[in-house]
Amino acid sequence: MSEVLVLVDHVDGAVRKPTYELLAIAKRIGSPSAVFIGGADKSAAVADAVKAYGADKVYVVDDAEIKGYLVAPKAEVLQQLAEKASPAAILIPASAEGKEIAGRLAIKLSSGLITDAVDVQVNGDDIVTTQSVFAGNFTVDAKVVKGTPIIAVKPNAAAPEEGAGAGAVEEFAASISDAAKTAQIVASQPRQATGRPELTEAAIVVSGGRGTGGDFTAVEGLADALGAAVGASRAAVDSGWKPHTFQVGQTGKVVSPQLYVANGISGAIQHRAGMQTSKTIVAVNKDEEAPIFELVDFGVVGDLHSVLPAATAEIEKRKG
């Protein structure tokens, strides 16, 4: 069975959930080979983690020489691995970085690239991807017709599947060109842990907009009662109430959770672009004419500062 390369998404050796989703997809196509580019001291723990979710092989690429050098060296690593392993496909997390690695790799390998896949299925000999385009108004099925399919997959495209793979660890020494080591991270401030789920990975997202007036207490209270991630509209971000990483929309994160709760958000097209593929949509807005109500499964016309705390208290009560 052909190998399927899966680029491991991790922060200093802590494997992120999209990696497991990619491994589940890789199993549909062939034999999953995880590619870990990171610190050698973390490789054993990473290998154990990805093996538990089905990796048959784990390529370990020590990043001592390339750490901090952005995407170009990683694209070179994957190119060299692809030339060695002739994989059936290469799966990369569709993060900002992942997409750029994929873009460079596509040119290097003269291979077709599909980004932002929300599903990947095998149909006979074809690997068919599904993408959601134009603010979620259309669904597109596509496939790669040249070279090795390179697919950047969005979070939540598949459920992680536990089940051990062979997990054979193989060290891979890539040779990185000097040209790839020219743009560099000079300072990095890790995101402060919020104790809440990741916005793009969460099953429930509770967002606040300009209607919060800058006070997110009610929004965060409901989020915590539901075990949800917190999001924000651009108006809330531009006002400095939340950092840009909270922004949902065309120029922020695109989320597709089971439940999206929009509070004090009017529903501008750029905001919709980031949330309208959510399974269930709920809104609280004091203006019954707000366009967000066109999208909702359930809406409350009312003041979020009274509706949300009351709803939060009611949820806590029912949970007992």
Binding site: R104, N137, T139, V145, H244, L259
Partner: protein, 266 residues
């Protein structure tokens, strides 16, 4: 290194507030709908102009470059009105339906023809197909480093420093010219063309190139040459109208929680 040339990549896109459609061959309909300079590329033009203005002691030429149909001239015209010095429009019927791979090829060849500048600036993403991959592909083709998704841009001599919100950290990224830069809508409001700018733009040079001018074979671009193919396009079924209640004396909260419970979210 002194900075003498900046190329800014601008794309002509269907208006997002209009009705965006697909053609029978599953390509984006770029002709039958109103289009404009992609909003997100206005930020790229703005940053290019700001860099030029801040480095007033250097002779910097800002060239706006677009690849697209005849109507796409509107995109470079707008960039000229904002203050770009020159424009290049690559137009050829064979380009229609090109994917990001082919687009990056045409952009790279056009840039080589203009003369590879010290700095290429692009936007965050096309507001239509929006993959955010063209700048990375272009950097790969030109053999240049990329410094992308900048929320804040600073340049000094041959050094470029940007700040960006990464997925897991806020980062400062540094690179040395020549390089490819892309900027987000956090980088600062784009200026409106002034009346003076609009008048001045009429006299600025605008070159139109065909594929033959760039030495690109028509078989390398367009729908037929795409490395990916679209099998199917389905319009999302319209959402069925939901239930909307008015909050009166706390009734809204109870109704909301009942709804969430009925969907098993609690």
């Amino acid at each position: 290194m002194t900075l003498s040339n900046i190329v800014v990549l601008v794309k002509y896109v269907p208006d997002a507030t209009g009705d965006r459609k697909f053609e029978a061959d599953n390509t984006v309909d770029r002709v039958g709908v109103d289009g404009l300079l992609s909003e997100l590329d206005e930020y790229a033009v703005e940053q290019a102009l700001q860099i030029k203005e801040k480095r007033a002691d250097e002779e910097i030429t800002v060239t706006a470059l677009t690849v697209g149909p005849a109507e796409a001239e509107a995109a470079v015209r707008k960039a000229l009105q904002m203050g770009a010095d020159k424009a290049v429009h690559v137009q050829d019927d064979a380009i229609a339906g090109s994917d990001a791979v082919a687009t990056s090829l045409v952009l790279a060849k056009a840039i080589e023809k203009i003369g590879v500048p010290e700095l290429v600036v692009g936007g965050l993403a096309s507001t239509d197909g929006g993959l955010s991959v063209v700048p990375a592909m272009l950097a790969e083709r030109l053999g240049l480093p990329q410094v992308t998704l900048a929320a804040v841009v600073e340049t000094q001599g041959d050094q470029v420093r940007i700040k960006r919100d990464g997925d897991t950290a806020t980062e400062v990224v540094g690179g040395t010219l020549p390089l490819v830069l892309s900027v987000t809508d956090q980088s600062g409001e784009a200026r409106y063309p002034s009346f003076k700018g609009i008048m001045a733009a009429k006299k600025k040079p605008l070159d139109t190139f065909s594929l033959a001018d760039l030495g690109v074979d028509a078989s390398e671009v367009g729908l037929g040459a795409a490395w990916t193919t679209v099998e199917n396009v389905t319009a999302r079924p319209p959402r069925t109208a939901g239930e909307i209640v008015k909050d009166e004396d706390g009734s809204g909260a109870t109704a909301l929680v009942d709804f969430l419970a009925s969907k098993k979210f609690i």
